[in-house]
């Protein structure tokens, strides 16, 4: 049994998160992913996240500003199924790997661009960093409010865009079985930000804007503390679970109390303040772990508030094979995320640690038909 993408080859001109994350998802599902890096390497190598986003891949360093470097890229792309790039619009063309040229060379190529705002439109030339995309997508205002937007560090748009790129490339490969040609795909962080979040919040009458609170504004979907001051998340997020909860804790009167009218979806401010304080007081009567045990037994959704370290010991996450050990070059054994998507008959697998810069250059060039002499010359001329 092999991965669903076994036998497909991807050339990735990616840096930071969006392109490389997509490349990694494809690599783990069987694709042979070659990461083409400039002589200085992917700048994300400074970040510990580089290791996980670039496992299962090979690395070749090529100076694409050099004509011989462009030729290497051409030969690699000619023999590949997929090209992923996440440069600022216009840069790929300058480096000789733009869509027109590459698709003429290889009409079956799936060419996937991941950019901040896309290759057309008023924001095209704004550098597509996560934060400026998030800002103009209303994320920080949504997290806080208009008068006080709040920054958060989760690279939401980059990650969502990477997921979109992964399925878009796969869909294009699937379609290629029928139409026998490749195509161009444009994924944007801006589109990802809109789709991932705005998808749930359309502009329509009656759309309620949730105020910010670090523990959440909704009384029945919120962080609470036990008597020992430890945190847990309480999520009686449907009427049925709210009923289960009230019965379990002997508070059936809440089911007809106007304070909780419309629970759990419709307890808007200012009613939420009273509801929250009633629940806060209730939860003060037992320790956190006691509440977790008690409410879990009553089939009320709750969860411990875990740090990352604690999450890495969490039995269910381990059971999902979502914590794996990878032996890295410079950091020893690294615990990192496993495969988030699993196919029963075509299981994927991590192929190996992230590559050192240019680690597979010689091997890849040799396989592409360059002789030892040619490779030596390329090295001398600082093309590779």
């Amino acid at each position: 049994m092999t991965g669903a993408l076994d036998g497909y080859r991807v050339v990735e001109f990616g840096h930071y998160i969006p392109g490389p994350y997509a490349g990694m998802l494809l690599a783990d599902q069987g694709a042979d992913v070659i990461k083409v890096e400039p002589p200085g390497g992917d700048p994300y190598r400074e970040d510990k996240g580089f290791m996980v986003l670039n496992r299962s891949k090979k690395s070749i360093t090529v100076d694409l500003k050099n004509e011989e470097g462009k030729e290497i890229a051409r030969r690699l792309v000619q023999g590949s199924d997929v090209l992923i790039e996440n440069y600022q619009p216009g840069v790929a063309e300058k480096l000789g790997i733009g869509y027109d040229r590459m698709s003429a060379l290889n009409p079956k190529l799936i060419y996937c661009s991941v950019s901040g705002f896309g290759h057309s439109g008023p924001y095209r030339d704004i550098e597509g960093w996560e934060q400026v995309v998030a800002s103009v997508s209303s994320y920080y205002t949504e997290e806080g409010n208009v008068a006080n937007p709040i920054y958060f560090p989760v690279p939401f748009a980059s990650t969502y865009a990477a997921f979109q790129a992964a399925y878009s490339v796969t869909m294009a490969l699937y379609a290629r079985e029928t139409i026998a040609r490749g195509q161009r795909i444009d994924v944007t962080l801006f589109g990802a930000a809109l789709k991932g979040f705005g998808y749930f919040f359309p502009q329509v009458f009656g759309r309620y804007r949730i105020p910010f609170h670090p523990q959440s504004t909704w009384p029945t979907t919120r962080f609470y503390q036990g008597s020992d001051g430890e945190w847990f998340f309480f999520s009686a997020t449907t009427p049925a679970f709210f009923v289960k909860f009230c019965v379990a804790v002997g508070k059936e009167e809440w089911l007809t109390d106007p304070t909780f009218d419309g629970a759990p979806f419709f307890i808007f401010p200012p009613r939420n303040v009273k509801a929250t304080s009633l629940l806060t007081n209730l939860f003060q009567t037992r320790k956190r772990d006691e509440w977790l045990e008690f409410l879990t037994a009553a089939d009320v959704p709750v969860a411990r508030l875990n740090t990352l370290e604690e999450a890495m010991e969490e039995p269910q996450i381990l059971a999902n094979n979502m914590i794996v050990d990878v032996l890295e070059s410079d950091f020893g054994t690294v615990k990192e995320m496993g495969l988030p998507v699993n196919l029963e008959l075509n299981p994927g697998a991590i192929k190996g640690r992230s590559p050192r810069l240019g680690e597979n250059t010689v091997e890849i060039l040799t396989a592409t038909g360059y002789s030892k002499k040619e490779i030596a010359a390329l090295k001398k001329n600082e093309v590779i």
Partner: protein, 418 residues
């Protein structure tokens, strides 16, 4: 081409994370049937959100607990390509709709299972909503550090799980094109929670973590953060390189800034971050946010307005690049939602229909699999299926709305609708 033309999907999902994925399949051309109990998908109570994530589907309302429904489902499964589930393990077994049962009827079917926690392990029998796996997975302490939860309003799991589901099913479609076989595909809300944190969800000797302690965080550092303009509007400036910094200094036109030894290099700027913020904040407050954004964008410093959601749907770039879908929802009236955000040179994507009323297509769907009008009428009379005639919310009486679970303050809002 329409990539999923002729592909049939049976969508058993409810609530938020589950249903969004089949609507993506519909965008790509699949025929999606949403299978609902007589009470309907509970998420219908949320009106607007339900409408967006259930675009492109038809609704079959059927009582899966009744014996006769099994024969109806068998006919549908025989003809289906993709089955989508987000229930906890154990529930579908009781209804004869687990993967082994489906496989026995149709080995070509792809079965996507995306429960809250997973299918193996200590918590799989438990229910969970978006914040639960995020809390368990460390997401809410990632920002401010241990002891200081930071809740995110954005439902990361609800948003991301559908996209990972699409990846899984696309892989299975590709595999099926080569082997002719369907298979079981799995992910979970919990897996998505981890996938969003992939670049932080790591452990090794000497790992360094950094926290943004402030609950009112404005950014990463003084040159990569939100600032407040004279017009009381916020904007985000993002200097990622020395080149950006130099350009920013030019724009600010303060000679002392560029030559100030405290801020000359990237290391020094990070070292003296608090002081730099104190220098920049008053400077930025002297000009309107929109003017700063225009000026900085012009010279190539990444900078955008911090938009509020009302303005989002008028965003000129979103409009120019066709990101929005405007329509008239039969329940809620005129609406704008996010449309197709991906561009394919070979694919034609579309929303063929809006979100369905409960049981709007029950009869039509049964007819397609060979039942006669008489048989369908029998099923309706015996309460096996339901053919509903729903109405826009504003046309329902107060009593009817109350019965559906809307409280008085929400009913009052509905009465003010046009």
């Amino acid at each position: 081409m329409i990539p999923l033309k002729g592909i049939k999907v049976l969508d058993f999902t409810t609530f938020a994370a589950g249903p969004a994925f089949p609507s993506f399949l519909s965008e790509f051309g699949a025929d999606v049937i949403k299978v609902e109990p007589f009470d309907g998908d509970l998420f219908r109570l949320l009106g607007a959100s339900f409408m967006v994530i259930n675009r492109g589907k038809r609704s079959l309302s059927i009582d899966l607990k009744k014996e006769q429904s099994k024969l109806i489902m068998k006919r549908l499964i025989e003809k289906t390509d993709i089955i989508v589930m987000n229930t906890r393990p154990g529930i579908m077994e009781k209804l004869g709709l687990d993967y082994p049962s489906v496989k026995a009827i149709n080995p070509r079917a792809i079965y996507l299972q995306s429960p809250p926690y997973g299918t193996k392990g200590p918590k799989t029998k438990l229910a969970a909503f978006d914040p639960i796996p995020l809390s368990l997975g460390g997401m809410y302490l990632m920002q401010r550090g241990p002891g200081n939860p930071m809740y995110y309003k954005i439902p990361f799991c609800d948003a991301g799980t559908p996209v990972l589901c699409f990846f899984g099913v696309a892989l299975a479609l590709l595999a099926r094109a080569r082997t002719g076989q369907g298979q079981l595909v799995g992910t979970s809300l919990l897996n998505t929670a981890i996938a969003y944190q992939a670049t932080e969800f790591m452990q090794y000797k000497k790992i360094k973590r950094s926290y943004v302690k402030d609950m009112n965080a404005k950014g990463r550092n003084a040159t990569d953060r939100l600032y407040l303009g004279l017009d009381a509007k916020w904007f985000y400036v993002s200097c990622k390189s020395d080149e950006h910094w130099k350009k920013l200094c030019d724009a600010i036109d303060l000679d002392t800034l560029k030559s100030d030894p405290r801020f000359k290099t990237r290391e020094k700027r990070l070292q003296n971050d608090a002081e730099l913020a104190e220098v920049l904040f008053p400077i930025f407050s002297l000009g309107n946010a929109s003017d700063w954004v225009t000026q900085l964008q012009k010279i190539g410093v990444p900078c955008t307005m911090s938009v509020k959601e009302d303005e989002l749907y008028d965003d000129p770039h979103g409009v120019a690049t066709g990101m929005f879908h405007e329509f008239n929802d039969p329940m809620l009236g005129p609406a704008k939602a996010i449309g197709h955000t991906l561009k394919f040179s070979e694919f034609d994507l579309s929303f063929d229909r809006l979100a369905p009323f409960l049981g709007q297509h029950s009869s039509e769907i049964l007819k397609e699999v060979g039942y006669t009008d008489e048989q369908i009428q029998q099923f309706i009379e015996n309460k096996i299926i339901q053919q509903s005639q729903d109405k826009p919310l504003k046309e329902l009486s107060d009593e009817a709305l109350k019965q559906r679970g809307y409280p008085p303050d929400f009913i009052a809002r509905i009465r003010t609708m046009q």
